[in-house]
């Protein structure tokens, strides 16, 4: 899986979770850039991402993730290790 593919699939997940088809993800996108991205929606987002990529993100990484770029890094790492 390339980083581009990860971003493509992530964009789809974000658009579904926040019900907003105009979302375009950048490496630097954070919760501040998406209006509905609060702590409750973050939980759903993580679950949806995990299901999309068939991975389980470890606790430590869920808490330290800073932006979508880091999320993509984690997805790539976890997909390899699983």
């Amino acid at each position: 899986m390339t980083r581009e593919e990860v971003f493509e699939r992530l964009t789809e997940v974000f658009r579904n979770v926040f019900d907003d088809d105009s979302i375009e993800l950048l490496e630097t996108t954070t919760s501040k850039d998406i209006e509905d991205w609060d702590s409750f929606e973050h939980i759903n987002l993580i679950v949806a991402v995990e299901k999309e990529f068939s991975i389980k993100i470890p606790m430590g990484k869920v808490t330290t993730m800073k932006d979508v770029g880091e999320m993509a890094d984690i997805i790539l790492q976890e997909s390899v290790s699983s």
Partner: protein
């Protein structure tokens, strides 16, 4: 919405929750309902997922959500916010994480008992306070099993084991529920097992977000509790309509012949169908009306049910549409004959094409995706919660008998040329009185179930009914009708509130199975009598149109009321002056009260 029907795709629901909610909010004719969730853990997504399932059932919930883990304080102490919210239902959403003191391995048996008693009483005190302050139904989670067992298998048998402790606590909850009206257990002990306790209790979600269950399990959880709620709101299905070939037995009876279809104990497939038939028969005993809808020659098809080893017999079914008409048409006709709406039906057919025909031609009918493997039929119908039994009244148990009696009445009607003669031949006896304790549950059930013969479509919980009955400002009447074919049970309810010398009718409903039997007139006669006793001079009636109650648009005109106003929404107000010359309108029912 198909996405929300069992078996749903939970991942999809979590991911598309917002979009689905937006679509569901476009539905019209939604019943508002205020639900307070008093939680012992994070409940945000539980609430949002419940909202989806309830909207799908035609209920628009408004929520009060307690602060994190404040369920006990919210229930036990004066709470102006919750009191102002006036909940219709309180849902205590607690988990085994909320048990404060488990037994220690060093505890004596006496100490273990004391701990059990203390945990239990903490909950019972809450339930009692809620029932006296909020007077609304309570739904309480029981406890899921712990995700580890310190004593291994002995955890179940040793009183100091947590498995043992939780099992006993759950039994105490059950006893309370079994002996208390308006109190319902949300059985998460079963649902967590069914989901898979290991995945359900993934500690990740507790430590990360303080969810006491895995987030992916929330749709299963919320679906289960929303089934209790929709059942309390009278939105259960009433009729199970079944195909025959490859649904009730294996094979095609027209081709294979009655001796060669698979049913009975001879083959694994036969046994599977027999088990399914046993399940259906049990649903019939619970009051689900059983009907057939099959493309077959009637005599040939019924031979399948006449086999000695067939669990179901032809007489178990009230209506049998065995013909070559489109199944959607058969369903609509059966609905008319039963005086029920197609949305009360569950249609079960192994053939996806037939399912699609019914689904697209009779919107509102439940058409479960049962697949084509008979071993899965029971599981899918059962988990769908169509017939969730919250209050089992005596009427439920005898409903099939009542409808069969109705079919006999129809038969006998055909032998009369004069309808009045027919009514006289029924030898009807009515009992029309103020509400009495024995019928509170049935009365509330009827207010929630009646859609067609319902002037105002006001819904009442059992506790509201009890409240109305206890205060002097109301005139209440229930009507029970018996005839030579059987007891119809409580079939009509009127509630009016008295102000000065006027009685305003808040509710007038009647079960459609006793239409055109003079019961509506008998109720009017009795209402007039009760009003006269209280020196009431005027009765004011209201009609509020809905998508379903057009049949009673002119009801008050029929009863001799005068229309005094009508607004642009079609809401009408009617006026009836009581005078001494009132002549009873009921001609055929013998009213014998004080039974």
């Amino acid at each position: 919405m198909e996405e929300l029907k069992y078996p749903f795709n939970s991942d999809n629901l979590i991911r598309r929750k917002k979009q689905l909610k937006k679509l569901l909010l476009k539905k019209t004719d939604l019943t508002p309902l205020k639900i307070a969730i008093l939680g012992g853990a994070t409940t945000n997504d539980i609430m949002k997922m419940m909202e989806l399932f309830l909207l799908d059932q035609g209920i628009r919930p408004e929520f009060y959500e307690s602060e994190y883990n404040r369920f006990y304080e919210d229930a036990m102490f004066p709470n102006p916010e919750l009191e102002a919210f006036k909940p219709d239902i309180i849902f205590i959403c607690t988990f085994n994480k909320n048990i404060r003191r488990y037994p220690d391995i060093s505890d004596t048996p006496e100490i273990v008992e004391e701990k059990l008693e203390n945990e239990y009483l903490r909950f019972e005190n809450m339930w009692k306070r809620i029932s006296s302050v909020y007077k609304c139904p309570v739904i309480q989670n029981n406890f899921e099993y712990p995700y580890y067992r310190l004593l291994g298998n002995k955890d179940a048998s040793d009183p100091r084991g947590r498995v043992n402790f939780i099992s006993r606590l759950n039994m105490r909850f059950n006893s309370y529920a079994d002996s208390t009206d308006n109190f319902y257990i949300n059985d998460i002990n079963y649902i967590s097992a069914s989901y898979g306790l290991k995945e359900w209790s993934d500690p990740f979600y507790w430590h990360m977000y303080k969810y006491a269950l895995a987030v992916p399990a929330i749709p299963d959880f919320s679906f289960n509790v929303s089934n209790i709620i929709k059942s309390l709101m009278g939105k259960n299905k009433k009729v199970l309509m079944l195909d025959m070939d490859n649904t009730l037995w294996g094979g095609v009876i027209g081709d294979d012949g009655p001796d060669n279809i698979e049913t009975g104990q001879e083959t694994p497939i036969g046994q599977t169908y027999s088990e399914f038939q046993t399940y259906i028969r049990a649903l019939g005993q619970l009051g689900v009306l059983l009907t057939l809808n099959s493309k077959n020659d009637e005599e040939t098809a019924l031979a399948g049910l006449k086999r000695d080893d067939s669990v179901l017999k032809p007489e178990d079914f009230i209506y049998k549409k065995i013909n070559w008409l489109p199944k959607s048409e058969n369903l609509i006709n059966t609905a008319k004959e039963l005086n029920l709406l197609p949305e009360s039906f569950v249609f079960v057919d192994d053939n996806p094409a037939e399912r699609e025909i019914v689904r697209s031609n009779v919107p509102g009918t439940a058409v479960p995706e049962i697949g084509d493997r008979p071993e899965n039929y029971i599981g899918i119908i059962d988990k769908s919660g169509f017939f969730e039994a919250t209050n089992l009244s005596k009427d439920d148990m005898t409903r099939n008998e009542m409808y069969k009696a109705n079919a006999k009445r129809l038969e006998s009607l055909n032998t009369f040329t004069d309808y009045g003669e027919y009514l006289r031949s029924l030898e009807m006896k009515g009992e029309i009185q103020e509400f009495i304790p024995a019928y509170m549950s049935r009365i509330s059930q009827l207010t929630n179930k009646s859609n067609q013969f319902n002037l105002t479509t006001r819904r009442y919980t059992q506790s509201e009914i009890e409240k109305v009955a206890a205060t002097g400002e109301y005139i209440t009447l229930y009507g029970r009708l018996t005839d030579k074919f059987g007891d119809n049970g409580v079939v009509s309810v009127v509630i009016g509130h008295v102000t000065g010398d006027e009685c305003h009718i808040d509710l007038w409903i009647m079960s459609c199975r006793v239409l055109k039997r003079d019961m509506e007139f008998a109720m009017m006669d009795e209402l007039v009598k009760k009003c006269a006793e209280r020196k009431i001079k005027t009765i004011i009636g209201y009609y509020y149109p809905t998508a379903k109650n057009a049949m009673v648009k002119e009801f008050y005109a029929l009863q001799g009321f005068e229309k005094i106003s009508e607004d642009e929404g079609g809401n009408t107000v009617w006026h009836f002056d009581i005078n001494e010359n009132y002549v009873n309108k009921n001609r055929y029912i013998d009213i014998c009260n004080g039974v």
